[in-house]
Symmetry: C2
Subunit: 206 residues, 2 copies
DNA sequence: ACCTGAACACCGTTCAAGT
DNA sequence: ACCTGAACACCGTTCAAGT
């Protein structure tokens, strides 16, 4: 709070103010004008710091999704690493205050996040392209899951209660349903990868 | 073109005009004012026809995603029905001009779409709750896939070429990669459901 | 009743002074 | 150079006349 001045404004401050606004008042409250006001500055200087609004939102997404997953996955079996990695990514993406930011996340953030899993898969006997494909499959599944999950839970909170379709409503889910669904999907993916992967049979003396 | 008058305006006309605008100029061009202008009307009467902008977008999504899948899936083995249904849904969702509308689709549209698959699963020996869970799993996977796919392909079209990470970029995919990924995911889901489902062994005289 | 024009309270972005 | 106030071209939504 030493500098109430306006001249020494960093791109970092702008992104931070935007994130504060996001957390306090939601995605739609993040506007160039309101971010500027929060910084006690006119909107103009923001444009020289962060580009335009689109760029600012990209920067917010980059910040919120840096260090997506722990850099190390230990030395468990690759299948366990997949599970661990997918759950960590799921947890992390779910913590983002608005799923519209998840879809904005730029490629490189996911490339970074992929590295530990790809290492684990390579250690498990996957070739590089096999590891990349497997990682991509799991990553897309997790990201897709999070977006559907948040849209689904958001609709549930919104008004119109459906009259509880007998037999279960395929889309009306609560948090527990969603968690179970995630685990089931993950189990199937791991089983599929295991079936496709030439298991290291030498361990069993074959 | 008989009635250039403004009084007899139906909700249907508003939704249709919004869809035309969407197709011609994209999601961001759809505004209450521009839809009204296209109808030769002030913005005011729109509010009595379709509610507010949010409601209008919901109505657009409902219209674009009515009849999501063919009502009949034939009498193939349930596993083939899952594949057929998932591919039809994928194709259909991909044809929506903006994936932001896919996430707006209301529950009931998906409930409708679920019916033929649930019937096929029941015919294949699934109990009602099992069928609902299986359908939900596949549906979430497909919807999630489409949203990630469209974000991913959109980013590719946008500016910054990445310097082609050696070993393959886990997120930088083209249409062929995406299609292969979809088929792989679908294959794993079907295999997983098959493994979990108590196969009708009586057919084999067991 | 139901429309229109005008208004209100916002946007993103840029221009023209000001220091 | 780099800020601010004002402006421009839009929004969604509502109000106050008008017919």
């Amino acid at each position: 709070m030493i500098s109430l001045a306006a001249a020494d404004l960093e791109a970092d401050d702008v992104v931070r103010a935007a994130i504060e606004l996001l957390n306090e008042e939601g995605f739609d409250a993040v506007s160039m004008r309101r971010v500027a006001a929060r910084l006690g500055v006119s909107p103009v200087p923001l444009y020289s710091r962060v580009g335009n609004k689109d760029d600012l939102l990209d920067a917010v997404a980059d910040r919120l999704l840096a260090d997506l997953v722990p850099a190390e996955l230990g030395h468990a079996h690759w299948a366990d690493c997949v599970g661990q990695w997918a759950r960590a990514l799921h947890e992390r993406l779910r913590s983002v205050p608005d799923s519209r930011l998840v879809l904005r996340t730029r490629r490189w953030a996911f490339v970074d996040a992929s590295r530990p899993l790809i290492d684990a898969l390579r250690a498990g006997g996957f070739t590089e392209p096999e590891a990349v494909r497997a990682c991509r499959l799991v990553m897309w599944s997790v990201i897709g899951f999070v977006t559907v999950e948040s849209a689904s839970l958001a609709e549930r909170r919104g008004g119109h209660r459906s009259p509880s379709v007998p037999g279960g409503d395929p889309a009306g889910v609560d948090q527990a349903d969603a968690d179970a669904l995630f685990e089931q999907q993950l189990r199937y993916l791991i089983a599929g990868l295991t079936a496709d992967h030439p298991t290291d049979l030498s361990k069993f003396g074959i």
